[in-house]
Amino acid sequence: MENTPSSVGGIWQTLVAGQTAAFPFGSASTDDYRLQPINSAPGDAALVTPVATAFSQVPGFATNFPNLVCAPYLDYRSDGPQCVELQLDCIGTDSCNFLYTAQLDYGIDGNTDAAPNLVGAPAFLVQHDVPCLTAGFTDNIFLSYTGSTPGTDPPLRGGGTGGHSCYVSAFDPTAPGIPAGTTVSTFPGFEFPSNTKVNPIIAGLPVPLLWAFNDNSGNPVTNLHFCKAVNANGTCATTGVVAPWVHLSLTALTSTAACQAVATPNLPSVFNSGLLNLKKGQYSFIWDTSTKIKGLKGCQVRVVLQFNTGGASAPALFQYAL
């Protein structure tokens, strides 16, 4: 180098697709941000920087979410309750445009000037391509939250795409609190097939996908619509589709040419309508796996569900058996 460095300003962790990278922060042993990329490129690396900001019991810290307040962290308390926004910085050959799931852990400040009641209608807000602090959060990538008492760790989970982002945990102070130990999920994963095992598929044989979809309080959403195609900015490209909507795509995890070729931005359905509304918040999509691509044996893929909120999830792993 042309001179002697005086300091190391940041140590970036390598990201590996399918593995969780933990970024502890704060003084407590509960605070961390965990990032699990699903389809990141080799060599991607990330750095998480917490930025504290004053908590207010009056909603309005996020312009696009006027009913929410940010969640105060107990270990960041200093002359009053403090929230924490997390700045995720990323570098990589894929410009960090990968799909990921994220989990945020922290201890809530339960003092009377902070959040003395249980958290209700939790949110996991994000704005991409900006530094923290920001008031312009655009998406709520919330997927699940487990209720907890003040001072203990409430795991907040979300999922989305992109890598240069500012995140914050938030909630609606007027919503009913979620009891300790109770988990609410918008999309907990598939009810079928398995979210934990490798699901074999045979090209040509349809694969039924079944799931439930709820709001941030855990109530069934009965009017989920199907978006056949999405724009690059995450909006629905299908005319006439209104929120709430879901879009399905297929991402390949195996690097073979055949496997990469079978990936598709719009997952084909056996039915023209695509999404089947089974009522009471239950939905199904019959994946048409027919393809002319040869040599798919061993190819691993994930079905990606992208929601109008900006959240995304790819809970199940599939592998072509033939």
Binding site: M1, S7, G10, I11, L47, D105, T146, T152
Partner: protein
């Protein structure tokens, strides 16, 4: 109940030192041994030995950055932190007798490090990333060129396994926030 997915590799406590970066002016001539080898292959502080044309028997670096720390993940959260110390540097270890430095990095933490942000608070002499053509890939400094010198986009100051990105003199967010970033360094614990 949270489900934690943590790789066994990431949790490994194995500590392996890697010398991964050597960006510097090298001496005057070359030998076959220097044509492809990383001269900063043993990250201890010292002036790189031997004239160009002979292999460096010590593998010394003018500056050594040592990353330490342990990140522990449990069902309720993660704790720990990573830190780095810089040893060596200045005129005593400059390979040119002035300020240019050969830099090595040791990762003694339990996580894989993909990049580090380097800064220099007071710019006495040349700025940290003010590359002025006297890096190891400059023909006048080393011939024949190292095998990695032909990599597309290289500045001529890289080592065999690293590159630079986001070089800036102004603090700020992406892409300018880091004052220089070493990237693609396979620093496994």
């Amino acid at each position: 109940m949270k489900k934690i997915l943590m790789s066994a590799t990431a949790l490994s406590m194995k500590k392996v030192a890697f010398a991964i970066l050597c960006v510097t002016l090298l001496m005057l001539a070359a030998t076959p041994g220097w044509a492809t080898d990383d001269p900063c292959n043993a990250p201890t502080v010292g002036v790189p030995a031997g004239p160009v044309g002979s292999n460096d028997p010590t593998g010394s670096c003018g500056v050594v950055i040592t990353i330490t720390g342990t990140i522990t993940t449990t069902s309720t959260g993660s704790s720990g932190s990573l830190s780095a110390t810089i040893t060596g540097g200045g005129q005593p270890t400059a390979y040119d007798g002035d300020e240019d430095q050969l830099v090595g990095i040791i990762n003694n933490s339990n996580v894989t490090v993909g990049a580090i942000t380097l800064t220099r608070s007071s710019e006495g002499g040349d700025a940290l990333f003010a590359f002025d053509g006297d890096g190891p890939c400059a023909p006048a400094q080393h011939a024949p060129a190292y095998s990695w010198c032909s990599n597309v986009g290289f500045t001529g100051y890289e080592g065999p396994t690293n590159t630079f990105t986001r070089i800036s003199s102004t603090p700020g967010f992406q892409p300018a926030r880091p004052l220089g970033l070493l990237w693609k360094i396979p620093l496994r614990p």
